[in-house]
Amino acid sequence: MIHQHPLITLAEVREDKLHILKTRLEDIRVSLLNAQMSEQPVEFGKVSTLHYGRWVILSRDSFRDEPAIPVGIRLVLTTNYDGIGNDHEDYHLAELVTQLTQYIDDLYECCVGYPEPEERTEESRKNFLKKGLIRTSAFYNGAPGRSVSQIHQEDSLHQHIWKFLKNKKWDEGTPAVEIHRAIKQEIDSRPEFEWTKEKAGVQGIKWLSLIAYGVLFIVMLPLIIGWLVYLFIFHELWDKKVTLAQSDLDDTKINELKKVEDIFPQNQFTQVAVLKPGFARRLNFRIWMFRTRVLAGDIFVKGKLLNIPTIHFARWVLIDKNKHVLFFSNFDGNWEQYLGDFIDQSGWGLTAIFCNTVKFPRTNFMGVLGIIPGMPLTFPGSKFVLTGGAYDEEHFLAWSRSTQVPTQVWYCPYRHLSIKNVNNNTMIRNELRQDLTEEQAKLFLKRF
């Protein structure tokens, strides 16, 4: 099974070149979009390990709130990639700089310290990007173990069977198992589907990890309760009420964001927020990052992050001496739905993390229930204990939009597939080779 990893690298932009950089990013965006619209192959497609990728300019203007430390202008590159080989990061970077050489040169020659033209080699380019690498704090993958090529393969399998089922006339009352068998025969007869003979690895929930987490939680419970009370009395109570509404947001910025949204059934989201000052808030953020890392890596492996079934990849990254946090995600549907999902399905999970950033809608006992994965919203008393934050719908949406950063270039390799489609396609592949009962075969056929 090939694992997917997050990569993020920052480069300092030369102020005198910012304008050129912006123009070049826009050129890449437009040519990528045009190629995708007309179903032409795109440059990014040559990078075999690349799932999603984006370039974002991060400057003082990207911050809604006063940064905790002075920030320059940076070009942020993030990718989600397939880990191939022992040094998979190096392998991926090598692919990036060799397959996207023109893009890399065009963009990074606007940055400080990029090798001069005569010094540019695969190695020097790679080393430049390596210098700016930073660690991702928490990472979520909606389809763990699925490589890009596997996703495309399984997509073609789904389409083939779909057409086969549609074009063949089945007598009424044909048992589902018989149809299942016919499909298997059809696939067996086609050499291009030889790969289906191998079962796809699907990551299961790591129960041991869940149990360890549960035990840790119970052992630590008195401490956790004390911590929550401490935070409530000394921090949350003192937070100012946030009244920023969506109607207060800057039109120019919103229009810039909307310009690139909802072109495909998938969208991206980039966000930067400033952590609240003080040791307690920072520690608290780290605790929640730890929780999210454990849950996202070991528990949320079935295509749902905190019960949200529309996210392909998401990650949190601390930058600037851990004083600022970046959040990236790739999701199905549009912004309104996505954020609505967050509120509807997992207000607690989000609140717990982001309440440690400045001017987040005020909270009480910030997501105390979020420690327990999958805690239902309807838990008795949750309405009383857990208020504010993401549940403060109007102000949460305004917070989210106002801290969002425009994404200059965004690449999505399988924009015609929702994350549910991706996971369903893998199930089709695996169930194709299984001996199914009549009931199971019926469910199998429902997948089309």
Binding site: T243, Q246, K258, D262, Q337, D344, N421
Partner: protein, 475 residues
């Protein structure tokens, strides 16, 4: 439960005026702002509010954001209206959201698009019949003749037997606003007032974004303080609320291709016998709708009962988890997913569904024609004046149209837009457009879906309270 201030709220929000056989929507432009304000002051008391005794006529009024600007509404104040309302229905992004392309492209609209004459307000006149409606209009006409000019008139009728032109019974599942004094109707249709009226708490138990008066203008003393208690940070004085007891209204003129609709479904039929073919076409059209033409839900009726059944008492989890009765892609299953909202538990699903409802107010236009597989050639253009009220256009109307309607990725589907309202004429080739009908073993697939509904015009309106209309007359 907070009781609504009924004598402040325009009645069309709470009543569908079904007894009003005829309606005329006058889309108007402000010629003279001062005269328009005089007109507003003069007619404010005559606007039908929700406490009024309805006799032979009803009269309501709404404003576009252009209209408020024409009256001299302050720009800063304007900004506290919702973005959707301020920007209007036609922007590049909103075109993508609403899926208004090809024949429905705003460049082809008869009204409401930037290329058409600007619309500032809508006067809605309802009468028991056409003559009464016209009489009423003629009675008030001289009051605004110097103030306003008529840009476009939309004639509408109460739908005969509540059936739209394709032949299906409409408006069966409709929200009931808590605190409106109407009897609760169950079936998850009883909704918090803040989903439909500004100034009240919504299904998240917070107040919806409302139109605060941040800069004093006109006679603010007419208005109440905002219910949420938001105040100027410096002076600590609470903002007055222009939105209180008001709401937003979405209006779309939808032309219906009744002949194309039934021909399409008849073509899908495998039967050769005329009668059987018509039966199968009716069954397929019902699958697409989720109800039989008379309204009987497929979840409960696997055969057409042949009579009108306005039953809304059903859910999906226990009754039809497989979609074998009512397809996942069926119009009513998308627009009101009841206890199956994504993959949440039934109880959570029901509560989430309540956050995305609209109050539909639909009138029909053109010939009184109820289509069927046997009879589907109306004379001339027929269609719907689709209207709906909501407190948050983005979370309600636009969410329904895009996320649940246009998105081919609804639930676990691959390439299935809403077969009634989401089909494009020129879809992305890679995806195609299909309608999947789950069956016992292999699903039935209707490929190359066609669109039978064309948008001819549309706009977003603010429907102020009676007091807010009086206030607008003073700005």
């Amino acid at each position: 439960m907070t009781a609504l201030e009924l004598s402040e709220i325009q009645a069309y929000l709470l009543s569908d005026y079904q007894q009003m056989g005829y309606s005329k929507y006058y889309l108007m432009q402000v010629k003279d702002a001062a005269a328009t304000k005089n007109f507003l002051a003069a007619i404010a008391h005559g606007i039908t509010h929700a406490n009024a005794t309805i006799t032979d006529t009803c009269f309501n009024i709404g404003f576009t954001s252009n209209g408020l600007k024409q009256l001299g509404y302050n720009e800063t104040n304007m900004h506290s209206f919702s973005r959707e309302f301020r920007e209007g229905m036609v922007t590049e992004h909103r075109q993508r959201l609403l899926g208004n392309f090809e024949s429905s492209d705003p460049s082809k609209w008869q009204w409401g698009a930037p290329a058409n004459d600007r619309i500032d307000l809508i006067l809605m006149v309802f009468g028991k019949d056409e003559a009464i409606a016209e009489d009423f209009y003629n009675g008030i006409k001289d009051k605004f003749e110097t103030a306003l000019s008529v840009i476009h008139i939309l004639d509408g009728k109460a739908m005969p037997d509540n059936r739209e032109h394709f032949g299906f019974r409409d408006g069966i599942s409709q929200p009931v606003i808590k605190g409106s004094g109407l009897p609760p109707c169950g079936n998850n249709n009883d909704i918090e007032p803040g989903e439909f009226v500004l100034g009240y708490k919504n299904e998240y138990t917070v107040y919806p974004d409302t139109a605060l008066l941040k800069i004093a203008q006109g006679k603010p003393e007419l208005l109440a303080d905002n219910a949420e208690g938001l105040a100027d940070e410096r002076t600590k004085v609470k903002y007055k609320d222009v939105g209180q007891n008001g709401t937003y209204f979405v209006l779309l003129q939808l032309q219906q291709d009744v002949d194309g609709f039934w021909e399409f479904w008849k073509k899908q039929s495998v039967e050769t016998d005329e009668k059987k073919r018509n039966e199968e076409a009716t069954m397929l059209a019902a699958k697409m709708m989720g109800r039989w033409p008379g309204g009987a839900p497929l979840v409960k009726y696997d055969k057409d009962p042949g009579v009108d059944v306005t039953d809304d008492n059903f859910k999906y989890v226990k009754e039809d988890a497989s979609g074998n009765k009512c397809p996942f892609g069926a119009h009513i299953r998308r627009m009101n997913p009841r206890d199956v909202f994504e993959e949440s538990s039934p109880k959570v699903s029901l509560s989430l569904t309540r956050r995305h409802r609209i109050m539909r107010r639909v009138r029909s236009y053109g010939e009184d024609f109820i289509g069927s597989a046997e009879n589907h050639k109306p004379n001339g253009e027929v269609g719907l004046l689709f209207g709906c009220f909501n407190a948050n256009i983005s979370k309600q109307f636009e969410f329904l149209q895009y996320t649940w309607g246009n998105s081919p990725k609804f639930k676990r589907l691959y390439a299935d837009p809403d077969p009634l309202i989401g089909v494009r004429e020129d879809p992305e080739k890679k995806l195609g457009q299909i309608f999947t009908i789950p069956q016992a073993t292999t699903n039935r697939v209707i490929s190359d879906m066609q669109s039978f509904v064309t948008v001819k015009g549309g706009a977003y309106f603010f429907f102020p309270s009676i007091t807010a209309i009086k206030f607008l007359a003073t700005i």
